[in-house]
Symmetry: C2
Subunit: 350 residues, 2 copies
DNA sequence: TTGTACGCGTTATCAT
DNA sequence: ATGATAACGCGTACAA
């Protein structure tokens, strides 16, 4: 099958290649008639400009990329939807990149910057501590989204980040549980790496307990299993099972992600617990499904829409030189729903 | 910042560019020592080959693309996970493309084939009737995945498709509901376009009713709303509300997607129905969350893992010339869980 | 307003 | 085993 290039089109139309180039790139210096003629032949012959060749020459591309670590996380796809819409509004095209949890997002970003003529990058998920040296290699502005706190040793002038204060919000949730009279609060926590989101939320849990003079019982801290997705429902289910089998006394379960909480709800139900009358259950994230399940899940609702909008807006502002790098913390909302209640309403267990 | 090209590296090492090219592309004809020296300087200077330039020259790329229509659908992200893993096994790289529901997937595919040197494409979602002419323009093999039936007028030699028989499986579900004694089965159906997945599942519903001599009551067919995601929980919620407000008598609700069913479950619960004792609820897809919610959802479980594996395997086989295009239908499983029961256990309503 | 010619960074071909 | 050089398809300075 014949795949015409810009030269072929030029030859067919009896014009020079630059004229064709001008036609397809909406340059002003071109006769309306010639342009129309060219556009017609382009359509007729099904000519498609080769993007690789374009990228090789172009300086300017009106394109950004989103680099997602863990695309199956509904939290990210929700963000993605909004980001895509914002980009369309600005007539920017969006390159979607997905990486495995063991790849280095900055390395990948570097490559794609070279390949495309990107003007900026949004990181979704991942990150925690990258060396300045590495970040310096990214020649376009970038924003770490859904990242509320960054390690102290990073140079904050080099990047933006937007997110909620995981530690504080987590504390908020646990304080709420305490206010309901809960003292034996089990926690299901993912990702035990230092400074990970999971760790921050665990620290918030500990903060709350300390603040209210409740002893931290290590036997109530249940890390998720490796190898099956730290934020998956299956992992929440399995980990909750371990909790139940441990024989520890608890009146509330706090899972550091809604997906984990949903998995836990099944384990608890199967073991005969009723939620919330026997045990209160709380999550974190505020993903869509949390509002529809029965009972609906008490959770920390991250302002997905606002965060996503602000992320893109900030990136565009930095690109156009309107703003410097920012470090924006959003307030999350304690969303009290049906899965939690006063401990006194609960049947004593163990 | 200095961004070295292949020429710079060559100069620094005192070799020709072709030698550097051979080093980075693992060509056999190269001295081990020179190669090592080159690789070292590459690392030292942080050289990254420009992919656009590569794609421009290269014939061969060991890369395929997945074109997803509706990335927020958990069903697709589940598939995606498996496809990614399979590609890694084969040492193929994977380009992820996302398109809006109103874009034409074949057009997008065409562009990216030109840009990259792809060897094949997997379509996830979308499709239903594309003209032969258009498909002819795709110069690499492609597979429509999760598509069980294709319009008669399409030339089946040009493409592969893999999926379940939506109409038949849907019928299976409704027959099961009928076997439980249900006659007044409301259906929540998405995407009213001809030959869409939603329509196929609706046809299956009608087939089942006809087969068992139950009159099809149009007042029990509830299409989802436009403009908010035809397969979203919110839409399931709203549509179920309409059903409830309609005052129609029903003993079972069948939603043509699990997400819709989950939304419906909340609407039903809020209206005072207990599931399944007051009303049975059934979904379709078998997404993860259906197994964890309470009550777990009776659904048609599509063999996600197998379908995804087979999709990639088939594509690779076609690429390597081992097989012709195939049209593979998988059996889905009627997964009976907690959300359905005999109608006689149910309280009469209306 | 239009056309010519060069170069973007890389790989493939052909010498050596 | 290695190097020089011609493409790849396009955008753009510059000339016309």
């Amino acid at each position: 099958m014949f795949e015409p290039t810009i030269k072929d089109i030029a030859k067919i139309c009896g014009v020079g290649v630059s004229t064709v180039s001008r036609a397809i790139n909406n340059h002003p210096d071109i006769n309306a008639e010639t342009k129309e003629k060219i556009m017609n032949t382009i359509k007729e012959y099904g000519y498609i400009p080769n993007n690789s060749a374009r990228n090789l020459k172009r300086v300017d591309a009106k394109a950004i990329a989103v680099l997602v670590k863990g695309i199956s996380n509904p939290f990210f796809t929700d963000m993605l939807k909004v980001i895509e819409a914002e980009c369309n509004k600005k007539h920017y095209s969006l390159e979607l990149l997905h990486i495995e949890s063991d790849e280095d997002e900055v390395d990948v970003a570097q490559k794609v910057i070279k390949e495309k003529r990107l003007r900026g990058i949004i990181f979704l998920g991942g990150l925690f501590s990258h060396s300045d040296e590495k970040l310096k290699k990214l020649t376009v502005p970038f924003v770490f989204s859904t990242v509320g706190s960054v390690p102290e040793n990073m140079n904050k002038k080099m990047f933006s980040n937007i997110g909620v204060d995981d530690r504080k919000e987590s504390e908020k949730m646990v304080e709420y549980l305490i206010s309901l009279g809960h003292k034996d609060i089990a926690i299901i926590v993912a990702e035990q790496e230092e400074k990970s989101i999971g760790m921050l939320r665990l620290e918030g849990y500990q903060d709350a307990l300390r603040k209210h003079n409740i002893e931290i019982n290590p036997a109530l801290i249940f890390p998720t299993e490796d190898g099956i997705g730290h934020f998956s429902m299956e992992n929440g289910y399995r980990t909750a099972k371990k909790l139940i089998e441990s024989g520890q006394r608890f009146t509330a379960v706090y899972a550091v992600a809604d997906a984990l909480a949903i998995g836990a709800s099944r384990a608890l139900t199967e073991a005969g617990y009723r939620i919330p009358s026997d045990v209160s259950l709380a999550g974190y994230d505020g993903i869509d499904v949390s509002n529809y399940i029965i009972p609906s899940l008490t959770t920390i609702r991250q302002p997905i829409e606002e965060m996503a909008k602000d992320t893109t807006k900030l990136l565009f502002d930095i690109i156009s030189g309107k703003r410097e790098h920012q470090h924006i913390i959003f307030e999350a909302e304690l969303l009290v729903q049906e899965s939690t209640c006063q401990v006194c309403c609960q049947t004593a267990i163990n």
